[in-house]
Symmetry: none
Subunit: 196 residues, 4 copies
């Protein structure tokens, strides 16, 4: 029963993820989410205060999952460059392997939800563990050892996340095909942009 309970919540989160990924926030009314999740409409409101909270929780789950996934493969003995390349490659690979998650995240960050979240995190200086945390560490280490260009954190982020997200989107939309080879040279280019 504890299991079933968790199942329902998970169903709702998954249904939301999928519908938002497929049709955007517009295309994910609560009635449709409930139907896809196989629960009653009212059930959504047992688990989430309102639709906003549901959206936030989907984001939160994805963030944790991605973060965990990336961290799980980090090797301590990697050189700095290797760690950077690993991060970019594995993130890009994850995104194209999980297109629904990517599409949801894209919608999220391009909405008041995501903007406010970023604003809070940037100004509160208290970024809970998110994938950007890993990159933030890379930034700080790189700066400390003089391995990367002398730019602010958010410019560094723009140089890394910007191309990765653009590439992932085009792959998922079927505009390009990112194979291992291409990912390799692409990530190399990212490295060129930040390295000193």
């Amino acid at each position: 029963m504890d299991l079933e309970k968790k199942d329902k919540k998970e169903s709702i989160l998954l249904a939301t993820l999928e519908l938002v990924a497929e049709h955007g926030f517009h295309g994910a009314p609560t009635a449709m989410i409930a139907e896809r999740a196989g629960v009653g409409i009212g059930t959504i409101y047992r688990y989430f205060d309102d639709k906003d909270m549901l959206i936030y929780e989907v984001h939160r789950e994805l963030e944790l999952k991605i973060c965990e996934y990336i961290l799980s493969g980090f090797q301590e003995e990697y050189s700095y460059r290797q760690r950077f390349v690993y991060f970019c490659s594995v993130l890009l690979q994850y995104l194209i392997d999980n297109p629904k998650e990517f599409k949801f995240m894209e919608q999220f960050y391009n909405s008041p939800y995501g903007v406010e979240l970023r604003r809070d995190r940037i100004f509160s200086e208290a970024p809970e563990c998110e994938n950007s945390c890993i990159l933030k560490d890379l930034f700080e280490q790189g700066r400390k050892h003089g391995l990367i260009k002398d730019v602010p954190l958010l410019i560094f982020f723009a140089l890394v996340f910007g191309p990765i997200i653009a590439a992932a989107r085009d792959h998922i939309l079927g505009f390009i095909t990112l194979d291992d080879n291409l990912i390799g040279s692409f990530v190399e280019a990212c490295w060129d942009s930040v390295k000193k």
Copy 2:
């Protein structure tokens, strides 16, 4: 008359641009657009088939305007590298100087509208003149002369537009401040990522 007519259409386009930029597609109902434009609701439908077409036309106008602006400053005598740097700098500067236009474009490309438009252009091989045309030329010239990395067009785009859009967004949201200096080193980094 013809003038007045054009004025009304322009008012509607401008009101739409502003409202979408300020509040997103959600926050720009036709009634509000009409009010801001100083016309009747019905008038919108005299100039545009439906709201979708209105959105498309705003996008089209912006695209032309930006393209024109960038082209207007191109100097033939620039070296390839100079032309690349010029394109990136002037585009980024334009975006942060015109935050409403940027925000509209962001909304647009992160919606079914923009996705379908890109799909059509990529596969129909008939890209109407847009700012990406300029970059496409840069790509082709660079490839021909072996000045840039050996990657597909869309990867090249990802390496250039990706960081620029990310940086512009963070500046407009007030997360960072892009001064001439920073723009300079930022664009330099972009060049590093694509140059051979």
Copy 3:
């Protein structure tokens, strides 16, 4: 067309009055009001900000109507006692002649709507013209000339409105029948309660 416009608003006000009178606030959903008024649901929101404002306006209209009706019959040459008796009789008669209006008013004053309105009026000391204004004048004149008991205004109101509303309600519910005779002795009793 100005006429038709007014007609629609009036239809909505009337439908609301009737439905609230018949079934209480619970029994007057917007969809039912629209249907009874012969308009679309959305039309309600062209004329009223929300359901609360609609309710308030019905109240306001009734208040003005009743006030006007009572004032229209006031004779200057009446003695104080005659004016008091006139007020009570004509108010009571009006209420039992207009049972829907009475029932609406009862619902209104027994809801947060009415309580807040009374609170505002009592403490802001700025009671816009309402039927209680007439009684307030009667109170002040009576007190000035020592014709009525030495009690606060609201106690005077309780002694007058209290019985009248209770009697009107029982008549309208069919529990008693108030004929001219009975109204006469009833109002006489009210006079006895306030006279010195």
Copy 4:
């Protein structure tokens, strides 16, 4: 067990009384009642057929309690006038001492619940013991001995309950302050209205 059972039922009745008094019928959903009562939602339905029955029973309990309270102070040696004054004073005092009970009763009688109850009692001629029973006795005695005006029972009720309820409400809402003195003159006025 039997005790615990009674406790649970009492908790539910009390929670209902309080929530309806504080927020009206609207503001007293079963989930909130259960929470306030410290029982499960389903438990409510073990003790009451449905929400209507719960409301009715709260009313019934209050009625009995008030009736009992008033009767407990009745002195046989009182004159008729003294008994009338006692009834009015003690009822009014009880109401302002128990504002939640008063507010519940007000809600109740201004709803289909109360109207139907009164209708049943008036026409079935079988009024279960309620506080109005005491007043009914006073009415009958007064009429028999020619001490009160020659009006029907319900008019007598209107003259007594009407002002008392109005005064209690205004006191509880904080619009006036009823001290012993004021209650005295107020009840005197009520007597004036019914006495021959």
